[in-house]
């Protein structure tokens, strides 16, 4: 598990302080804290709960409701494999499976070395590029078993 460093705790406390007196603060606080830590483990949720005086059960409910929030640490790079209709029929699923096999990671998971987080998405609106894949902010077209590893090897 990715450790929350002292520096991160300080930032988290700063965020909490900034929002402490505001109503409706929970979601922006969670968002900013996730930016700091990359994810929202229980220890961070508990800190927010105490700081904002919001019940831990409520916070957990919000974190698990929105797909944007994650309790699994994110890797340095995020891979999103498109499984929209066009990409799916042109081999998106096989691409996804080859990443899973190569790096030993489930969809929604993160590699042990925190290098990659893997997600599947439903259509990124780039059907002309099918099958498509997005790594961090870069979009790749016509991804195939042959070129996929070469592409990913560029992300350390």
């Amino acid at each position: 598990m990715k450790k929350i460093t002292l520096k991160m705790w300080k930032k988290i406390d700063g965020i909490i302080q900034r929002y402490k007196e505001k109503s409706g603060a929970l979601i922006p606080v969670l968002e900013e804290c996730q930016d700091v830590c990359g994810y929202l483990p229980m220890e961070v949720q508990e800190r927010i709960s105490r700081g904002l005086n919001i019940p831990g059960s409520t916070i957990y409910g919000v974190v698990t409701f929105y797909s944007f929030f994650t309790m699994v640490p994110k890797g340095r790079h995020t891979i999103k494999v498109c499984l929209g209709t066009a990409c799916y029929v042109r081999g998106g699923k096989a691409n996804l499976e080859s990443i899973q096999d190569e790096f030993g990671v489930e969809t929604g998971g993160t590699t042990g070395d925190l290098r990659f987080s893997l997600d599947s998405v439903r259509c990124i609106g780039a059907c002309g590029m099918a099958p498509a894949m997005v790594v961090d902010d870069d979009t790749y077209a016509q991804v195939s078993k042959q070129n996929i590893m070469k592409t990913l090897n560029g992300y350390k």
Partner: protein
């Protein structure tokens, strides 16, 4: 009425009030719209879609629970379209999980089952969804079967909006949705306090009481409404009885004060009733061993021995401890027995140890020593000051009123307490005073209020006396000076003072954190001063409100279980009243001078006190400085204990008499808000055990003073004849409505609020009071403060609560609550065994590091005989009320062994 203000439901016209929903109008008029998720008193969520109705002109069906009525609305609640929609919803709900009624605990009491039957849903066209979450059975009290959960959210509302414990919420999304605790942990590892409100709210079998599982079907049980036997809130509960056994307890719907809420003890702490260790036969100690004897032999033996002692040493060599656990009727007979049959005023009970200072202090200030306002007034308070009351643990159902007022109403909460108690989370301001400095902060607040001219001048002038003296005394209590004594920052004190003075009405709630000091009476008078200064006594939503700790401690006081008064606080040293009582009781005369208090009787045990007759109390765990008390009891010539279990005190008695529990008798309790409530017999007593009143009558007859009553009702009839404040109480009236005393006549409606236009004593009296430090302060040898109190999961000396496996499971043993700073200084980890010693004794218990504790002060609950905190406490007495200083003493701690190592 203008027909425009009406709506039409199913063809009939009905009027409505602005803001009412369709469901509310329908309910008020006896039209049954089925609901699943709707929880009365909470915000409607419209989640279940069962209460959908057809509204003319609306495109879709509308949820009646969440749709406000507008003029001329035309509503159909059972149209073809509505029924079709309900059917499909019921089908979907049934298909959403594994709803197998065969062994479901809810069978016969299930809303979903009822609906399926009502709407004749025979087949389900959808496949059953597989269970994705396993049933949670990790705790002893509540089973969570997620496969039966229909996600109606009633449990979430019960937890967050009714009890405001905020332990559960909706988690995840879509078909994976689940009701979760923090971190999706099992309840026993979460913030859950097991009040069981969620279980009672669950309309299906997803949440069930584990101890009741497989014990009986709803239609096999008899439900008997009675009053909870734990704290003084007076919750109305239903005992579910099958084959002379109480198999389940639920909160009585729509009954005040709890409106179906309970705490963990009320709902799950009933195991003691049918417990195998109940006393079933009278016992006489012969050669150091108890021998079972028949009633006649036991009572004759007690009568002979007491008679001997009386003739040899006089009636005042005998003392009687009445009980805050038994009924009003029984307390009345016990004090009558002491005064008329034995001839002594040595009558007292455990109120001496909890609220004697309240009775003394408030009687001096107002003329009446009880809670001034009803519990329901919390909803009317704009500001609530809670001090010396860890309410969420000691009076949980009242704490819910306060939490609701803060979370969903406009009320502000100020907490003044030496521990970071759970209520501080709801407070706008928490002042942390040093132990035993309450007079100082109260004087400090009054100093600010007077200096800034914020007090209620009209009220002070018209309704009070002694203001000038008060003003003189508080003059020196500047915030800076007070800060030095109390440790409360001057700014915070000023803030609190201004808030208390400016927000109206403001109420004060306190409990033993105020009363159990050698300055207990002073502390209470200070609360009265503060309240009167701002014109808060005698108004709705205001008042000075002591929370009584035992189910019937108010009643025991009311019924004369005190050494200085007859029933209704009629002084024994008033010759006219004495004459009146002597006539009513058919005796020549009654003893003139007030008797000894409980603490004095213990001190004089073996010297002037030769015999004690103790009913339903366990002083060998509850008295202060226990080592001393043990010696005192051992030196008595004769000790009789009348109880439902062989308590630590009963073990050293000469005779033990088995009595009935609350579930086995009729009578009344009087709760903390002075409301007289019925206790109803649900089952028969085990073995030879009989009611306390029957035992007292049997004994009294053998001592030459026969008392004969048909039943408890007959005793109440006698009480009303001799007690002005209970004069209008009768069982038949209590069946119909709540009555708060004083209620002098059969026509009188009772008095929920005291001192409305006039104080009981005429004018409210300010008492100028100077701060006096606690009797013992930390020093080099004993460097830590110790304060004692209760935990949620146990009650008093544990005679009842520790017979419940479920409660023991949660808090099995004593602990020492210590701050993380102190833990670091003493190199203590969670679970390490500590020896705690004071000048009077020592105990050992495990450390519990908690952010409730503040550096320099440790806390130990007093419930546990094996590690009795009262071996440490100081018996320094309040000079007026004779209450001991349980809340402050000096101790030291040593680490004995480290958690996890072999001893």
């Amino acid at each position: 009425m203008d027909s425009k203000d009406n709506i039409i439901i199913n063809g009939s016209e009905f009027s409505f009030r602005p803001g009412e929903t369709i469901l509310q109008v329908a309910e008020r008029n006896g039209i049954d719209i089925p609901t699943l998720c709707y929880l009365k008193g909470s915000m409607p969520t419209g989640a279940c879609r069962i209460c959908m109705v057809e509204v003319k002109g609306a495109r879709n069906l509308l949820p009646s629970c969440a749709t406000p009525v507008v003029r001329n609305m035309v509503v159909e609640t059972e149209s073809e379209r509505v029924i079709k929609s309900r059917r499909i919803n019921i089908e979907l709900l049934i298909a959403s999980g594994h709803h197998n009624c065969l062994t479901c605990e809810a069978n016969g009491d299930c809303r979903l089952q009822e609906l399926a039957y009502r709407y004749q849903v025979e087949t389900i066209r959808f496949p059953e969804s597989p269970a994705i979450y396993p049933t949670e059975t990790s705790n002893a009290l509540i089973i969570r079967d997620f496969s039966r959960c229909i996600l109606c959210g009633r449990c979430v509302q019960a937890c967050n909006e009714v009890q405001v414990n905020n332990a559960i919420s909706y988690g995840y999304r879509g078909s994976a949705s689940k009701i979760v605790a923090v971190g999706d942990l099992p309840l026993d590892e979460s913030d859950c306090v097991f009040c069981g409100e969620c279980v009672q709210a669950c309309p299906v079998g997803a949440l069930i009481e584990r101890p009741s599982r497989y014990k009986g079907r709803p239609w096999e049980v008899k439900k008997v409404q009675t009053t909870c036997p734990y704290c003084g809130v007076g919750c109305q509960i239903d005992l579910h009885v099958k084959d002379n056994e109480v198999i389940r307890v639920t909160g009585t719907e729509d009954a005040t004060p709890n409106l179906a809420s309970t705490c963990i003890k009320g709902r799950f702490g009933y195991d003691f009733i049918n417990h195998s260790e109940r006393l079933t036969s009278p016992l006489i100690k012969k050669n150091g061993k108890f021998k079972e004897v028949p009633w006649d032999e036991a009572l004759s033996f007690v009568a002979d021995r007491l008679g001997d002692i009386k003739s040899k040493h006089g009636p005042d060599s005998i003392g009687v401890f009445c009980s805050a656990k038994i009924t009003n009727e029984e307390n009345y007979l016990a004090q009558k027995f002491a005064r008329a049959a034995i001839g002594t005023n040595n009558v007292d009970h455990c109120a001496r140890l909890c609220h004697a200072s309240t009775v003394a202090g408030l009687a001096a200030a107002f003329g009446s020593g009880a809670m001034t306002n009803p519990i329901g007034d919390i909803e009317k308070s704009e500001l609530i000051l809670v001090t010396g009351s860890n309410m969420t643990e000691a009076h949980p159902v009242i704490s819910s009123y306060i939490k609701r007022a803060v979370e969903f109403g406009n009320a502000k909460l100020i907490v003044i307490d030496p521990r970071r108690i759970p209520l501080t989370k709801f407070a706008i301001l928490w002042l942390r005073q040093n132990l035993g400095t309450d007079v100082a902060w109260a004087n400090g607040m009054m100093h600010v209020i007077i200096k800034e001219d914020l007090y209620d001048k009209g009220y002070v002038e018209d309704r009070t006396e002694g203001f000038e003296e008060l003003k003189k005394t508080v003059a020196k209590y500047s915030p800076e000076y007070v800060s030095k004594i109390t440790g409360i920052p001057a700014d915070d004190l000023i803030k609190a003072a201004r808030m208390y003075a400016n927000v109206h009405p403001a109420s004060i709630f306190f409990a033993m954190g105020i009363t159990q000091h050698r300055t207990g009476t002073d502390n209470v008078k200070s609360m009265a001063n503060l309240s009167m200064l701002c014109g808060n006594v005698g108004i709705p939503g205001g008042g000075v409100n002591p929370l009584r700790g035992q189910n019937n401690v108010q009643g025991a006081c009311d019924l004369g279980a005190l050494p200085n008064v007859f029933t209704g606080y009629q002084p024994v040293n008033d010759p006219v009243l004495r004459e009146k009582m002597a006539t009513a009781w058919n005796v020549e005369s009654l003893p003139e001078s007030p008797g000894l208090t409980l603490t004095e009787m213990v001190n004089k045990a073996g010297s002037s006190i030769k015999a004690l007759y103790i009913i339903g109390e366990n002083p060998l765990v509850s008295d202060p400085d226990l080592n001393h008390a043990e010696k005192a009891f051992a030196s008595l010539d004769f000790l009789v204990v009348q109880d439902i279990f062989l308590t630590d005190t009963a073990k050293i008695a000469d005779v033990v008499l088995p009595s009935s529990s609350f579930a086995e008798k009729d009578g009344t309790f009087t709760n903390t808000e002075r409301k007289v409530q019925r206790v109803r017999k649900a089952i028969n007593s085990p073995g030879l055990a009989i009611g306390d009143w029957e035992i007292i009558c049997g004994l009294s007859a053998r001592m030459g003073y026969p008392m004969t009553y048909r039943n408890s009702k007959a005793i109440m009839e006698e009480i009303t004849r001799v007690t002005p404040s209970y004069g209008g109480i009768s069982y038949s009236r209590l069946e119909k409505k709540d009555i708060h005393w004083p209620c002098p006549t059969a026509k009188h409606p009772g008095t929920p609020r005291l001192h409305i236009d006039k104080f009981t004593r005429g004018m409210g009296l300010f008492h100028p009071i100077d701060y006096i430090a606690p009797a013992e302060l930390p020093d080099k040898e004993y460097p830590l403060y110790l304060t004692t109190g209760r935990v949620l999961y146990h009650f008093h000396t544990g005679t009842m609560s520790m017979r419940s496996d479920g409660l023991n499971d949660i808090v099995p043993e004593c602990f020492v609550e210590i701050s993380s700073e102190d833990a670091q200084d003493y190199n203590v980890d969670d679970g390490d065994l500590l020896r705690v010693s004071s000048r009077r004794g020592e105990i050992t218990a495990k450390a519990k590091i908690s952010d409730q504790a503040i550096k320099g002060t440790i806390f130990i609950p007093f419930h546990f005989a094996k590690a009795a905190a009262n071996k440490l406490t100081n018996a320094a007495l309040d000079p007026i009320a004779k209450i001991p200083e349980y809340k402050v003493c000096a101790v030291r701690i040593e680490k004995l062994w480290v958690h996890g190592e072999d001893r």
